[in-house]
């Protein structure tokens, strides 16, 4: 009596958006992809023309190190980020509310600053080992701080908030039914977490891990402190040691290959769930009150992480800044106001631009357009996986090509001011680099808008513009806020792009820190470094402080 379903029928979980597509919006996606890809393509082409793609010796070791570091940091951030998210989402313990947003703040500490603070605190001459020696005697020997392990610890401590934020948002959004069902079936809270919550939070974990691994792949400053030879370090080594830009770019494309693999893994991890989180519009889980030792342990764990990743670097910086201030009053220095303005300005414009691009991408994809449009949207995220300096060179190459073109077309001064370094170049480079995190956040929010809601608005006569303004934006605004925050934080911390592309007279806080730090003036670098943290903390606190403000509802 039952009719056998035809074998060709797909499961109903197939993603169904509005396949009719909108040429204008689809074109916008292609333009965005072209603009974002062009600097990278320009460098790659230049390298190809200069001498073909050639990998320098020792690549095998770099690849192995990169793999090891990436896997270790991914594991570390998964455990730390997910574990902390679980603690604060499912349990009640003293200080939970405060800790749950304090744990986001390490996002505001640049890895290169934490790396230096960590080394200066834990290396041989630092206070910890000195203290240990004075207690335990001189024979202690040196702790292997400068190692793969050290780099892993620092990167995990600065990058875990990506995972923590996204998983926490997913957990707070889940319907309690599945968790309760598991508990009534006799599962311990830990087992219910592992078997029920974790699989449901998997897409968010995957998205967080994608951001983490891209950061690890392109990090140069931090891993270099720790003597870890990743492919990105190789890029700089080959470029600056051998003046061999072609080989450096070849190495950079290797980094890009890693990123492609990471994004493919992310898609696999996310699976179908990406577009079907509708089941999870619950009111969140009932928190279990921890008592006694468990409560102390939970509070202690959260506080320790927050202290190590945020408290320690801030404390060290404040100490240094105070000792530098004792020598000369830093607040009479007009450069503070100047550099602060530059940093905030460029970060704000970059954030706004990246978010606009991301919203256009997400909205255009929701309007349909097929696999090519989806591929183009995906391509906009690869800039995150290209080392900053390579993007910078690409932007330069692109602008000078545009300049030559304009001159050939008869405009004598070409693009003029564009080529000679302007904030426009920095902005383009920022969009290339930071569209990925913005898009991840916005896309996650869009994924939670049921396609039927978009379809309903269209059939009620709302065109794409009204659909965006009245339906998509209001529903995705938490994702937009998160995207703005992530880009501001990233942009304020960003160094290589600004260093390479800034015009005369334009110095950001991060450049200033670099100027002082590269001459080893740590105490004087402390105050601008603190300002970077402060600037980044403001949007982080605004966006994530309130527990009701969830990422991508």
């Amino acid at each position: 009596m039952t009719v056998p379903a035809p074998g060709l029928v797909r499961p109903r979980t197939r993603r169904r958006l509005l396949a009719a597509g909108r040429p204008g919006w689809s074109a916008a996606v292609f333009v965005a992809a072209a603009v974002i890809a062009s600097p990278v393509v320009a460098v790659a082409l230049g390298a190809l023309l200069q001498g073909g793609l050639q990998l320098p010796g020792g690549v095998g070791g770099m690849v192995a190190t990169t793999l090891a570091l990436t896997v270790l940091v991914a594991l570390g951030t998964s455990v730390l980020g997910t574990g902390l998210a679980w603690l604060v989402s499912v349990h009640e313990f003293p200080g939970r509310r405060v800790l749950s947003w304090l744990l986001v703040l390490p996002l505001a500490v640049p890895a290169y600053i934490l790396g230096f603070v960590f080394l200066s605190t834990f290396d041989y001459a630092g206070p910890v080992q000195s203290g240990l020696r004075s207690v335990l005697g001189e024979d202690l020997g040196a702790l292997p701080v400068r190692s793969l392990g050290g780099a892993t610890i620092v990167l995990v401590l600065t990058l875990y908030p990506y995972v923590y934020l996204l998983v926490r948002a997913a957990l707070s959004d889940l319907a309690p039914t599945a968790y309760d069902a598991a508990r009534t079936l006799g599962a311990s809270p830990a087992r219910a977490f592992r078997t029920v919550l974790l699989p449901l939070a998997r897409p968010s974990l995957a998205a967080g891990l994608a951001l983490v691994t891209m950061e690890v792949l392109t990090d140069f400053a931090t891993v270099q402190y720790f003597n870890v030879r990743t492919v990105s370090v190789g890029v700089y080594l080959v470029w600056k040691g051998s003046f061999d830009v072609a080989s450096a770019v070849s190495l950079a494309s290797l980094v890009l290959l890693f990123a492609v693999a990471v994004l493919a893994a992310e898609r696999a991890l996310r699976g179908d769930a990406r577009y079907h989180q509708r089941g999870g519009r619950g009111r969140g889980l009932e928190r279990r009150r921890l008592i006694g030792g468990q409560a102390v342990a939970a509070t202690g764990a959260c506080a320790t992480v927050a202290a190590l990743a945020f408290g320690l670097p801030v404390l060290r910086l404040v100490t240094w800044a105070a000792s530098a201030a004792a020598e000369e009053n830093p607040f009479t220095d007009t450069r503070f106001a100047d550099h602060l303005t530059s940093s905030v300005l460029v970060a704000a414009i970059a954030a706004a631009t990246c978010v606009v691009v991301s919203v256009v991408l997400a909205h255009a994809l929701r309007l349909g357009g097929g696999p090519w449009v989806r591929a183009a949207a995906q391509a906009t995220t690869f800039g995150y996986a290209v080392p900053g300096a390579v993007v910078g060179i690409g932007v330069l190459a692109l602008f000078s090509a545009a300049d030559r073109l304009l001159q050939a077309l008869g405009r004598e001064d070409g693009t003029g001011i564009l080529v000679t370094g302007s904030v426009l170049g920095i902005l383009l480079a920022y969009v290339v680099r930071f569209t990925a995190p913005a898009y991840q956040a916005v896309d996650a929010s869009f994924a939670r808008i049921p396609p039927t809601v978009s379809a309903s608005a269209l059939t009620l006569g709302a065109g794409p513009g009204r659909l965006l303004g009245r339906v998509h934006l209001p529903l995705a605004r938490s994702g937009v806020a998160v995207a703005l925050t992530l880009v501001i934080v990233d942009a304020v911390k960003e160094l290589p792009l600004v260093l390479l592309l800034r015009p005369f007279g334009f110095t950001t806080l991060s450049v200033w820190v670099y100027e002082l730090a590269s001459e080893n003036f740590w105490e004087r670098a402390a105050l601008p470094a603190l300002l970077i943290v402060l600037v980044a903390v403001v949007p982080v606190a605004l966006t994530f402080r309130n527990p009701a403000t969830r990422h991508a509802r």
Partner: protein
């Protein structure tokens, strides 16, 4: 539930856009100075340029960055570059800039007289302006200077007696690369390879900056290291009781390894006369202003180093072979790599 966010978003937007409204200008760069300098050097530059402006009335503006990146920027900008002067902190990079054709040949009797021959290449267009020595530093409580080999001090640190006692900079530092390049130049690649391997065999501790290296010696973490002389001068300036002493390396042999900061005039600049004037001033009247603040050594033999550096005593330096440092740098990286130096 939505309220907080609804309030947060406008607040966030206001925070972001306020500076935009306040500034408005400055987006496309400030007003232009008479001379614009791309510089991989930051230290003392503002003070020195201010003095130059006082004396000549020419204003100078500089943009600080990494020298390899600034060179790429110069090449990409081509004729449109706003830079008139390119200043680097490494002889090899100066040579490389000359090779890449971004510098203009200079004909200046003032510069030729002020800068020793091995520290300049007037055809290629660059001149050394400040000098630093990369020499041996040690813990005077544990090491007697007589234990150090006066003929080839760098190579002798590979002697088994130093096992577990030495510390050096990481391989990504141009200081390390240039030192190894000079060893290749001096001894040939095979011998240089042996030297680096003997350091590694001695369990050399790798540090990520010279200050950390000096502080580690002071704290007892290692006994002998290789550092730029001016970092020691700087630390001694802050703390005269620092437990680290300087040893001029290889005085009975090839001399102490030195490297230079230098500059050239960017090819095609409309201000080449003024640019040359700046270089001449920096090599003569401006030498002290340029080098003293950072405890560097003047290139001009007529100019005395500042007192703290002078207290290290005079020394014989290894002649600088910029083309070798530049062309051998890649080999130096390979040698370090092959030796497992990290």
């Amino acid at each position: 539930m939505r309220r907080p966010l609804a309030r947060t978003l406008p607040a966030l937007a206001t925070t972001l856009l306020a500076p935009l409204a306040l500034s408005g200008c400055g987006l496309l760069g400030g007003e232009e100075a008479d001379l614009q300098v791309y510089s991989a050097r930051h230290y003392s530059l503002e003070e020195a340029f201010a003095e130059f402006t006082d004396e000549t009335g020419l204003t100078v503006e500089f943009l600080y960055g990494d020298d390899a990146e600034l060179l790429e920027r110069l090449k990409a900008e081509g004729a449109d570059t706003p830079a008139d002067v390119f200043m680097t902190v490494d002889a090899g990079m100066l040579w490389n800039a000359g090779e890449q054709g971004v510098l203009e040949p200079i004909d200046s009797t003032v510069l030729d007289a002020a800068v020793p021959e091995d520290l300049r290449d007037s055809d290629a267009g660059w001149y050394g302006l400040a000098m630093r020595a990369r020499t041996v530093v040690y813990d005077p409580e544990k090491v007697d200077p007589s234990e150090l080999d006066a003929e080839d001090t760098y190579a002798a640190l590979g002697d088994p007696q130093w096992k577990g006692r030495i510390c050096m900079r990481d391989e990504t530092a141009s200081y390390t690369q240039s030192l190894v390049a000079s060893l290749i130049d001096l001894h040939g690649r095979d011998r240089a390879q042996e030297i680096v391997e003997s350091w590694v065999a001695n369990d050399v501790q790798i540090m990520s900056n010279d200050v950390e290296l000096l502080e580690t010696i002071d704290a007892g973490g290692c006994e002998v290291g290789i550092s730029n002389h001016y970092y020691l001068a700087r630390l001694l300036d802050e703390d005269p009781d620092l437990g680290v002493a300087l040893y001029w390396a290889s005085q009975d042999g090839a001399g102490t390894h030195v490297n230079i900061s230098g500059a050239g005039v960017v090819a095609g600049t409309p201000s080449s006369a003024e640019a040359q004037q700046l270089l001449e001033w920096l090599a003569t009247d401006g030498q002290s202003a340029f080098v003293d603040g950072n405890h560097e050594l003047p290139v001009n033999p007529e100019v005395e180093p500042e007192p703290l550096v002078a207290s290290f005593g005079s020394f014989e330096r290894m002649p600088v072979d910029a083309s070798a440092y530049g062309s051998l740098n890649a080999e130096a990286v390979e040698v370090l790599d092959a030796a497992g130096y990290r």
